[in-house]
Every structure is written in structure tokens, then in C-alpha cells.
Symmetry: C2
Subunit: 807 residues, 2 copies
């Protein structure tokens, strides 16, 4: 195990004293202790929460080694002094590390160094102050179980006596982070209905939005708390079967498109301004919600903070069960509705206790500060909300979020599926998330017909066949409004996320460069996953530091202490590195020429190389059924049934490790035998080595507070066996969209055209001895349509090169 | 979704009235309701737990369709009558089924029939009694979410007002099953140390066993509860890394063994009778435990029952953290220690509050009745305990349990790994479960040296090289004592469990035939998994019915109502069938002769067929690294690199579906080119079809009670793509153990010997059109040693046949 903590604050001794007092480790007894050893024993007694009497405490001390030859009880009884060696040998045991496996009992400090566990400086015998400093550091350090030692104690009930503190002493911060002093068995769960400023189902009334609220009981006594708001269209359930049924067939030909002469302004979306029905009259007011719920579909990160002085709210938005409206997947009405909930939390909008009686209810328990959380569509709506500049939204923590829906379902004038979901499209997702379907009466009697009509319109508007960028997609491009963002932005994305691809976050990061807000980004080696329970990084602590600052206004230095960019290494497990920037626009690019089979600096080849696209029917069907096999065979430099369906170029083995930082570009001079065509590209890391498993491995369950909900601790580990290559990044383009995705160019058969494509961004370490590879092909079985057409592509190598941004 | 409920009791109207009253659905208001419709509305009001006022109730009624054209509120307001069609249309919605997906709104009764949801008979307009009967049936029927509607209401808080019932009214049974009327936020957690009757670490004192207890707070007021006891050596943690290090190399040659002339009596284990140290003196008594814990490593089945009037206790036993003794994997001392905990619960043995002070504490809160639960090693210890006939143990629910350790790590004179764990052996498991290692002081100062010595002894005793059955294994064969079993036995096993193989349960089932206890068995299509959260079967309800009867003595007919044998179909998802018996000894067997490539009834071939065992080094290494690939290639009838390494015989396509019920036998006449050898066999279902995925798919989270712990609802689904074959069962034998696993025979090179092997039992439906296949080979890459030796095997087909027990 290797520990990487970015959110631990180094503090002076005065702060140590003050904060240890605040969490009751320092009390009268500790104050009057004379020696470091006496102090240590008193602190340990408080940390041994499972023993109810001193007798058991003494017994448990016997489980710990103080030296290789003596247990901790005997050591303390015989009045020996506390040295770093003794303290850290015991610390490793308190942290659940294993002797002989994680550390050697005669050299504990070698292990703390190896595992990157911070230690208190000072050799020889410690005095009481050094001991207290070391104890403070211990509490804020991660154990083998992926949480701080204080969180470990929290999970055993350390803060239970704090539940009844007067609310003037709550929330309680330690080391700049909110602590679990709130009783989760007493959380209050309310439902309200926010009145939005949209009428997306055209029924002549403003859409009501169901909002589920979970808040600490302390709010009943007057504590005002900030909100973690998760806008999740999935939250009231999804329509798997209907979505499955609506999924498009991808075994259809690529279509020839009629050239056009469009400029961006021709297709740009502009708010038409719709006339909105009047708001509902208010027929009464109350502080008490009249509806509740038993179990929200929660995000474990929010759960963690429910014990720490934050409320969590979930809203599924327009088109979902118990709300009004319809879903059309990322449109401006959905953004408006998402933001309207924040306006209610901020006192600027009305909500009602139910859908009929017009009894108004305010968010009287809220301090007005809101942070948005969640991954994928959830993070997407957080991003959308941020671009409105809505007041009260102090920060978004957007994980694996979409910043433009065109880049999710389309690319370069092609229909491109999110990885793993061939045939999905915006209309499919709209159907899947219309959870009003789950109420048979609401659906059958009220919304069915209108929705069906809207879906027909949507199918036309999204124009699956052409793959072009048009007004529909422009309306769903949040990046147009990045300059409006007023909240701080924390972005998290997987460098192997081929569902929501990395460009989504790169363009947001790029767009925010000149926007005067604080922005941070964490890039991990996962696919489309959460990383809030990883052992090697203190993700949840970082969020705690961040939101304690953003939502409670604590001056904990979060903005300075957290690095701008944190990247997980793709070679060495459990390694996270801080950087100043990612994908800097002016990073120089190394140019490789393409010669048959090779990527070279010089010379330039003038050869023409060709590949076909179609496959025998049985081979085609096999690959369509086993995309993983296709993904392997398209890249292997062994003979395969795809050998004639791609061109492969490899560099010489690298002399030293190199990092690709940002997006590579490919320039090709290409011709095709018919008036239509597409190209796909993959950049590949060739070299036999044990790579990370695709998904993190579960380690064990993890408590989020004392007898509260649980998560699973996970970590990326190396695969048991070596593999010969791994895809680094990819890209696709329709040869009829050589200029941009809205303008369709003519494509003359067998005529060569210059085409440039920007691949998805990455941050990838190519180690010495490995080769960089470029694979050029057409049909991408996992992402493009699969027409199995008689297409033949030729590259004029003299007009081809690859530009790679090496750090 | 298809519903299979075995634990639902059909009751008369009087019982309906009495029990609906008991759970407060019938109250004064309902009693005085005059019409079925009025009664229905009152019942619904009680079931709509999320609404706090009547106004919201009315609003929510609008979400439900009463007829295809009218919502339920309008229907009730207009005073229309309750018909089966209305009642079940609403019921389907209450059960979370989806219109158009799960049912058609104009024919709800077609859907209830298709999904096997029971309905109340009676057409036309219902009267109040019929309505109440139907409501009762509704409460006891499973919804789309894999639990009864009453459990669904439970999870929303229905029984919260029952938490404060006087303990004279607790536990509360409904439809023969205990209900969740216990407040899980107030569970009491105690630790005690039971004094065992073993001194397995030879330290001159009886081993103390740490026991973790979770019990309802009602016990503090005098309620006595039964115990679900899970004996789990994993419970205090495992030593993954040490186990990994101890794992044996399997790339070693099969050894030639010296013939012997042993009879069973020569190697039988007999209790030698050891002298035991005196018990500890008692220096005081208390009712209060002085140690607690925050989070036990729990089994979700136990969690479910913690809300329903049962205590759960966990004990890891000898050799584990905070207990005494050492682990040697399934020895009689471990059985004794396991049983000693039951004796304490039953008032027949002492326990102490801690390890040093000799303060005795009784299980004063326990009614003396114990049921044991758990899977794998846990179920194994339950089986072991049952064979002692210990008083107080009323039943065991043994899931995927070992009944003889020889069959777990050995077979037919061979060392055979549990599937998925090549190189594991009894010593490895002993090391993995010695969680005393986790206490550095206890391990380094007290047990390390003794344990190391014992492990050396164990390595000799288990005799990995020979693979023979000997005294070590005989001491770990619980089946020798099946006749001592006095408790009722519920067995659960996966027909695809190649970790703990199906013979383990077959031999227990067989041994229990004449033992006068009630026995039941459930066979599912999983591997080594739990099935307590499957959507298509009411497993947890069955356990509830069973333990309400066994541990609380409720006369609910459990022994008669639960079928003797329940088997999950391997072809049609969500299909579970009741049978009278499994693997009946006298079921006739169909004999197939072996002719080149074929299994036939006639004629007999007299051909000699041969195959080799060794592989080119690179091929060998590839298969050793990718056992899944080996598993595929050994069975495929396409050309592969293993084509010369096996003989494959296939029957003609079957004319009709046939069920293989029990164990097939293979008789071969075999010769080998050296004085050593082994044979492996697989019975295979050949036929292109979509089969079940290997692991069940998760559906969604599932509450185990109101705001308590959670499980994941799962179900076996058909794979997306067809596969050409599937292994049905397998078996292995050392050709030097032709008579039995303890006697070693001479094996002369190139001489033919008759060998008979019993394959692992199964219950497998071969569908019409499929072929039955038999594959004969030697090295099994996943289970045997892999010597890659120059061995060549020959079969004289005239002396070979296969006997299959078709039902």
C-alpha cells in the first residue's frame, strides 16, 4: 500500500493543542499528564473504543508490540520512554498493517517511508509536546483501510458523545475538515415540489419538480446547513426495457451526404423565448413537509457528508416519476429546471408540499450554499447548472461529466456510440429516463401521447443518419456558456473512460482557463467509475477540505493546498502526481512521419498504402457479437482476420520514458473508392508488460460513519499476466466533414484529400522499450455504424503525419 | 419475472382476520367499513407510508390506474366496486411492475398468471371478506423486487410503531414467519470469551474463544431469543499475503507411488483422548459484557433476522484473532470448539467477560435454541457441529458446505485443487485463517514458533505428493458421523460449484436418508455463491418459515410445506421445481458404449484409441496462464492445440429432453506408457444455445428491514450470445488408486487395467437436439498437478462405457 494524501494540513503545535482539545483528546487528565508515556496511555485509552473497562484496555494493549520483544502493556507498565521507533511500530499496528507483510518489526520507520506515511520529526525520546504532535499527525494519516485514523475511530463510535453538542458548536472541523458529529439515525427525510420556470409538457402549468431532502436533525433546532445537491435523471428509476427496445440498429450502412455550405451561425441555437404560464397561487405556508421517503437512491459520497453537517438532496428533474414535464436529454429546459432547485434552496423560488394544495414551503434549514455532486449524467447537469452562473451554487464536483452532448453521441460528422453502448442515442436516453412511465396512470392518461410526439420530433432533430452537428446539438453544448461560470469547479475524469470520453473534460478545463474561478482536475486510470473509495488517494478528504471551504466558508487553504492537476500513473500502482497543468495548448508536439509499418522522424515516404473495410459475413457477425475480440484483433501485430482491414505504424522502442500530455493530432492524405467514407484512429502503447486491470479490485467494505451506510474500498492492481499492447486514445472522422462537423464536403471517389483529426486527450506514460503505435482503420465495431460496405481506403504517406504532445 | 414461492401458507378466512388484526391492518375503522371499496381504501391508506396526510394520499392514488381509462382516486371517489381486474391491475402497480413491459393494462390477470403471482379466486364484484382475503394474499406475495409486499412495506417503516410492543407480544408471526418488529438501531453488541474443551496450542490452558453477539434490545427487558450462529474462521480477517506465499507450485510432475496393501482400518482415525488442562476458576459473575464491537463481518441472511427477533452470533474459533489455539483446517479440535459455543448458549458451559479476569457471564438472553448458518467453510463447520449431536442445535442451514475435506483438496488418489485455486491446500487455508497473525504481539511473542512447527507436521500429514486418503483426511471426514446428527438439516448447493464440489452435499444427503431428522435440499445453477437475494425464489422466506418453526417452535407446517428437493432449471430462467428426491441410488442408468468419436447404445467397438498428455513448452505456459482458454479448448470439437490431448465421444442429438439426476459413472480399460498416470473426465452438453451467465446479474439494492443493512437483489439471466457447449460434470482418478483412495496399486507400463470412476453428481437437463459428450484426458490445468510429462494413454474401447442416470 502506498499512501497519497493531498488534503492533510500541516499545522503548528498551538493548532494541535487547540484542535485535539476540540475533539476531546486533550482533556483535564491529558493536560495534567506529566510524561509523554502517561499522555500516550491516556490517548490510547480514548482510542480503544471497543473496551468498556480499564481491565479490557490493559488486555488489548497486550495485542500490540512496542518493541520486537515486548508488548505495549509491559512496555508502558515498566515506565519506558516513547521513541519514534516505538510510536510508529504501534502506529503501524493501529493502522491495521501486518508484520512481515507490510513492515518489519525491527524497522517500522522503513515501512512508513516506503508506504509514504508521514512521521513526526525528532529522534531520541519524545517529550509530551512531540507526542501530542505525533498523535495529531496520526489522526490525520490514512491507515491500511483507506481512511484517516480519525475516520477509523469515527466508525467505531468516537464521535457519538458529540451528537448532543449544542448546535453552536456544530459543525465541528478538525484539520480543516468537517467531522461526523451528526446522528445519522435521526436524519430527517422530506419531499417538496419545486415550481420550475418551464412547462416542458405544454400542459399550461409550470412543471413541478419532486425534490428529496435528507438533513441532520440539528436543523430542527436552528442549525443551518449547506446542501450537496445531486441532480440525477436516474434517481426515480429508469426504463431499462423501453430503452432496450428503442436502441438503434448499428448494422446499417454509412450514408453518402449531400454537400452543404453551412456556417456555424446557420445552425447555432438561440433561445427563442417561450411564453410561460403564470405561477401557481399560494394558498398557505408551512415549515413541515407532508411527504417523506424511506430510501433515496444515494451517492455514497453524499452519505459520508450526511454525518458531517451537510444535507443531501436528490432531484430527478423534468420527465421523472412524480415530477412534471418531459425529458429530451440535455436541453436548455432541463438546465433551467436543474437550476430552479438551487434557487429554491437559495430562497428565490417557491416550492410546495404537494402537487395539488399550493401550500408553500421554504428551505428554512439551508444556509443557502450549494455544491453539486455526481458522475456522468449527474455531473453533466452540475456542469450545465454552473454555466448559468446561478447564485448560491458555490461549487460543482463534476465527475466524468459531459460538457457537450454532440461529443457524447457524435464525433466529426459521425454517429459515435458511447463505449459499451452501440445503438444508444439521445432519444434512447430520453426514453430510459422518462420515469413518469413508472406511474401507469400518469403515463397512460397524461403524458404518453405528447411524449411519443416529442420523441418523433427528437429523432428528426438529432439526425442520427448524418451525424452532423446541428441546432439540436448546439442547444446541448454547455461549453458555449463556460464564461458564465461563477462557481469553483472540481473535475474528475477517467483517462480510460470511453463512455464519457476525456475530451468532455479537456474542453471544459480549456474553456475555464481565463474564467476567474478556482478550478482543479483529477485524472485517474479508471473507465467510467467513481473514485471516492480508493485506498491510495484521499479523495473524500479532498472533497471534505474543498466543501468545508466552499460551503461553510472555512479558511482552510483548500484552494492553495489542493494541486491544480492530479494524475494517477498508468504504470506504477498507487501513484498519484501533482502537476501545474494538463493539455497545455502550447506544449510542443513531436511529429512522426508514416512509412510502411513505421512511425519515424525522417524520412518521408511517398508510398500509397491501402486497406479494405468489409469482412466476410461470418467474420463480421463474430466480431459484432464479440467486440472485445475485435478490439484485440484490430491492434495486434500478429496475423488476424483484421490484418487487411487496417494499417499499423510503430515507432522504434523508446529510449526513455515519455509522457503524452493532451491530445495528439493525425494528418492524413486519404482517398476512398466511393463518395462516402470514414476513418478511425487508435494510438497504441506496444510492449509486453503487466498493466492495470481494467476495473479496480474490491478490497473490503468500508464504513462511511458510525453504523451508517457503507461503501467498498477499491484499488487498481496489476493484472496477473502481461499483455502485448494497450490502446491509449482514439478518434473518428467522416471524410465528408473535413472542415467541421456541420459543413458537409463533397467526396470524389479515388481523389486524395487532406484530413486532420484531433484524437481524444490523454495523459499516458510510455515506458522505455515500448513502441508508440498508430492504427488507421474505418469501421469501429464498438462505436461507429457497421455497414460492412465495399469500401477501400488509400493513404498517401507523403501527406501523413502524427503530432504527439510529449510533456 | 417469474415468481416461485414455496414458503407462502394458504390460510382460511378466520386466520386472515386474526393475522391482519395482529399486524394492525384490521382495526376498528376497517371493522366498521361496510363495503369492499371502503375497506380497500382504508387498507391502502395504511400501505401508503410515505404520505403524512390524507391530502397526499389522495394525490398518490392518482398515480395508479384502476382501469385502462381511469385512475384509482377517481375510481374510488365515484364509488365503483372492486373486481379482480381492478384489484390486480392496481396490485401489479403496487408491486412495481411496468405497464406494457410486464403487463398489459387491459388484461392484468394474464400477467399474474404468466408471472405466477397467486390471485384470489372469485369473479365479479368482491365483498369485504373476499377483499380482505385478497389483501392478505397480496401481503404474502413477492413483488418485482424479490420480497413479499409486506416486506416491501416493512422497508418503508410499516412496523416501526410495533417496536415498542410489550415483549409478551414479540416476536410477531404473520403467515408463519417472524416479522421485523425489532428496532435495529438499538441492537446490543457484546463480546464474550467461551472456554472450550481443547488446548490446541498446548499452552496448558483451555482455549478461549472470542464470540461476537448481536441481540435485540428487547432481551434487556426479558425477551429470550434464539440464535443464528455463524462459525466463520474468516470472521476476524484473513492473511491473504501469507496464504499467497504458502500456495504450492502445481507445475510439478505426477509422482510414481510405491504400491501398498492398506485396508481402511489401517488408516482410520480414532480419537486418542487427550488430557485436558483444568478449567479456569471463576472469580466472579456478571450479566454485563465489558467488551463490544462496532461492525461484525456479517452474513446478510442473519442481518435480515436481526430485525425479526433472532440474535446473531459470530465466532471465528481456534487460531483466530483474540482467541486461543491454532488452526489445522477441519480437525476434531475445531469441531469441538465450534460446538462449545453452542453449549454456552445452551447453559452448559462457561464464558468470561475477558481473557484475564475470570468473570463468568451466561447467555441469559438466549432461549437455548440455535440454528447455524453460512456458506463454504462456515457451512462446513455447521455440518461438523451437527455430526456431534450437540444439544440445543436445532437446525443447520448449510450452504455449499464441505462434508469431507479429502473431497475438497483430493480425489481418487490425486491432489485436486478447488476450482479457481490451483496450489491451495489444507495448510494454505490454515495459514490464511490464523488471524492471530494480525495481532503482532500475540503472534510474534506467543504462537509463531508453535504454529510453524505444527504447519511442518501438517504438510507431512496431508501428504500432498501422494494424494492418498490417510489418517489426516479420515480425521476430517464428517460423514463418518452422519448417524449422530440430531438436528434438522437444510442443504443448499450450486450445481456449478467447482470450488466445493457437488459430491460434498450428495454424500451428506445420501448419508441422511435413514437418519430420523427432517432434511431438505435446494440445488441452484450458481457456482460457489449465496442465493439469499434471488428474485425468482423466496429463499429468505423459506428460511424464515423454517427457523420460526425450528427455533421458536411455531407450528407453521414448515417440515411438510417445504419440498424435499428444489432444483433450479438450467435451461429456462427463473424456474424452480420441487422433487421428491435427488440422486436416488436405485435410479436406472443408461449405458453408452464408446466408439471412435461417438457414444452409442450399440455396437461395441474394439478399437484402441490414444492421446498424449504433454504440450510444447510455449503452449503449456499459455494454458497455465489462461485456464479459461484451456477449459474451452479441451472441450471444443473444433481443431485446437489440445486436439491430440484428449478423446472426445458424442452421442447423437437427443430426440427429447432428458434430465441427468445424480452421478454418472465411467468405466474404462486404460493403459499408459509409464508406471504412473491419471485420467480426467468431463461430461459435456453440446448444442449451440444461449446459456445462463456464469454469475447472476445484480438487479438493484434491497433493504433487509427499515433503514437497516442492505443486500443486492440478483438473478441468473441468459447470456447475450450462444455458446456451443457447457461442461456438465467432471471427475479425476489416479491410475494407481484403482481400488480406493488409500490403497496404491501397481501400474505396469502399457498394460490395460479396468478403472471405474464416479463423476460429480448433477441435475442437468439436456434438451432435445443437443448431444451428450464425454471427454477423456489427463492433466486438468485448473485442478491437477501440471507435470507436462511424456505420458501417453490408450483406451481399449471394448472395455469402456458410460453409465448415465436419466430421470
Amino acid at each position: 500500500m502506498k499512501n497519497n494524501q493531498f488534503a492533510r494540513l500541516a499545522v503548528d503545535h498551538e493548532t494541535v493543542n487547540k484542535e485535539l482539545q476540540r475533539i476531546h483528546f486533550i482533556d483535564d487528565q491529558v493536560r495534567s499528564a506529566r510524561t509523554a508515556a502517561d499522555t500516550y496511555r491516556l490517548l490510547l485509552r480514548k482510542a480503544f473504543l471497543k473496551v468498556r473497562t480499564d481491565s479490557e484496555f490493559e488486555m488489548k494493549l497486550k495485542n500490540y508490540l512496542a518493541t520486537p520483544e515486548m508488548d505495549l502493556r509491559d512496555y508502558l507498565v515498566t515506565g519506558q520512554p516513547i521513541t519514534p521507533k516505538v510510536f510508529y511500530l504501534v502506529a503501524l499496528q493501529l493502522f491495521n498493517f501486518l508484520a512481515d507483510v507490510d513492515y518489519e518489526i525491527d524497522d517500522p520507520l522503513a515501512a512508513t517511508k516506503r508506504m509514504q506515511l508521514p512521521v513526526t520529526s525528532g529522534v531520541g525520546i519524545w517529550d509530551k509536546d512531540q507526542l501530542l504532535d505525533a498523535w495529531y499527525l496520526l489522526l490525520t494519516t490514512h491507515t491500511k483501510d483507506g481512511q484517516t485514523f480519525l475516520d477509523q475511530l469515527t466508525n467505531q463510535g468516537y464521535f457519538v458523545p458529540f451528537y448532543d453538542l449544542p448546535f453552536s458548536e456544530k459543525p465541528l472541523f478538525f484539520n480543516g475538515k468537517a467531522q461526523a458529529v451528526f446522528d445519522t439515525t435521526k436524519l430527517i427525510r422530506d419531499v417538496v415540489y419545486v415550481e420550475s420556470s418551464v412547462d416542458s409538457d405544454h400542459d399550461g402549468t409550470r412543471d413541478l419538480l419532486k425534490v428529496e431532502i435528507v438533513r441532520p436533525v440539528d436543523t430542527e433546532k436552528g442549525l443551518k446547513v449547506p446542501v450537496l445537491y445531486t441532480a440525477s435523471p436516474y434517481n426515480q428509476g429508469i426504463n431499462d426495457e423501453a430503452g432496450e427496445k428503442a436502441t438503434h440498429n448499428v448494422n446499417v450502412p454509412l450514408a453518402e451526404k449531400q454537400p452543404n455550405d453551412l456556417n456555424y451561425e446557420d445552425i447555432a441555437w438561440h433561445d427563442g423565448g417561450t411564453v410561460l404560464p403564470d405561477p401557481r397561487p399560494i394558498s398557505g405556508e408551512t415549515k413541515q413537509a407532508t411527504e417523506t421517503f424511506s430510501r433515496e437512491l444515494s451517492y455514497t459520497l453524499n452519505d459520508y457528508f450526511l454525518a458531517r453537517g451537510f444535507a443531501a438532496i436528490y432531484s430527478a428533474g423534468i420527465g421523472t416519476l412524480d415530477s412534471d414535464g418531459i425529458q429530451t436529454c440535455g436541453d436548455p429546459q432541463q438546465t433551467e429546471a436543474t437550476v430552479d432547485v438551487i434557487e429554491w434552496l437559495n430562497g428565490k423560488r417557491r416550492a410546495f408540499t404537494n402537487r395539488t394544495d399550493n401550500i408553500a414551503i421554504t428551505a428554512w434549514w439551508c444556509n443557502g450554499s450549494v455544491g453539486m455532486t455526481g458522475r456522468s449524467y449527474l455531473g453533466t447537469l452540475a456542469t450545465a447548472a454552473a454555466t448559468t452562473g446561478v447564485e448560491g451554487l458555490k461549487t460543482i464536483i463534476s465527475e466524468a461529466a459531459i460538457s457537450s452532448w454532440y461529443d457524447y453521441y457524435r464525433d466529426g460528422g459521425l454517429t459515435i456510440a458511447p463505449g459499451g453502448f452501440p445503438g444508444e442515442d439521445a432519444d434512447v436516453l430520453a426514453i430510459e429516463t422518462l420515469s413518469r412511465m413508472k406511474s401507469a396512470a400518469d403515463y397512460q392518461l397524461h403524458i404518453n401521447d405528447f411524449f411519443a410526439g416529442q420523441m418523433k420530433q427528437m429523432a428528426r432533430d438529432m439526425d442520427r443518419e448524418s451525424g452532423n452537428y446541428n441546432t439540436f446539438w448546439d442547444a446541448r453544448n454547455y461549453r458555449k456558456a463556460i464564461k458564465n461560470i461563477k462557481c469553483d469547479v472540481l473535475m474528475i475524469h477517467g483517462l480510460n473512460d470511453w463512455n464519457v470520453k476525456p475530451r468532455q473534460v479537456e474542453k471544459l478545463w480549456e474553456g475555464l482557463r481565463d474564467v476567474p474561478v478556482t478550478k482543479k482536475i483529477i485524472l485517474h486510470q479508471g473507465q467510467h467509475i467513481y473514485i471516492n473509495a480508493f485506498r491510495s488517494i484521499d479523495y473524500t478528504d479532498m472533497i471534505n477540505l474543498w466543501i468545508s471551504h466552499e460551503l461553510y466558508g472555512i479558511e482552510n487553504g483548500a484552494e492553495e493546498i489542493l494541486p491544480n492537476v492530479i494524475v494517477q500513473d498508468n504504470v506504477i500502482p498507487e501513484t498519484w502526481t501533482a502537476y501545474q497543468d494538463w493539455s497545455e495548448p502550447d506544449l510542443p508536439r513531436t511529429a512522426y512521419n508514416l512509412t510502411p509499418g513505421e512511425l519515424v522522424m525522417t524520412p518521408v515516404s511517398h508510398e500509397i498504402m491501402s486497406f479494405k473495410d468489409n469482412l466476410p459475413e461470418d467474420v463480421f457477425e463474430r466480431y459484432a457479437a464479440h467486440i472485445d475480440q475485435w478490439e484485440h484483433d484490430i491492434l495486434t501485430n500478429q496475423k488476424s482476420e483484421l490484418s487487411e482491414n487496417r494499417l499499423l505504424f510503430q515507432s522504434r522502442p523508446l529510449d526513455e520514458d515519455r509522457i503524452i500530455d493532451g491530445h495528439a493530432r493525425v494528418h492524413v492524405k486519404v482517398a476512398v473508392n466511393r463518395p462516402l467514407g470514414m476513418l478511425s484512429f487508435q494510438l497504441v502503447d506496444y510492449g509486453e508488460t503487466k498493466r492495470f486491470n481494467v476495473s479496480p479490485s474490491a478490497i473490503h467494505g468500508m464504513d462511511l460513519a458510525y453504523r451508517w451506510r457503507e461503501d467498498r474500498l477499491r484499488e487498481f492492481t496489476l493484472a496477473k499476466f502481461a499483455t502485448p499492447f494497450k490502446m491509449i486514445t482514439k478518434g473518428h472522422i467522416n471524410l465528408q466533414n473535413r472542415e467541421n462537423p456541420w459543413k458537409v464536403n463533397e467526396l470524389k471517389p479515388e481523389q486524395f484529400y487532406d484530413v486532420m483529426i484531433e484524437l481524444q486527450p490523454t495523459f499516458h506514460k510510455l515506458v522505455a522499450g515500448h513502441r508508440l503505435g498508430l492504427v488507421v482503420y474505418a469501421t469501429d465495431f464498438g462505436m461507429t455504424v457497421r455497414g460492412n460496405q465495399d469500401l477501400r481506403y488509400s493513404l498517401d504517406l507523403g501527406g501523413c503525419h502524427l503530432e504527439v504532445p510529449f510533456k
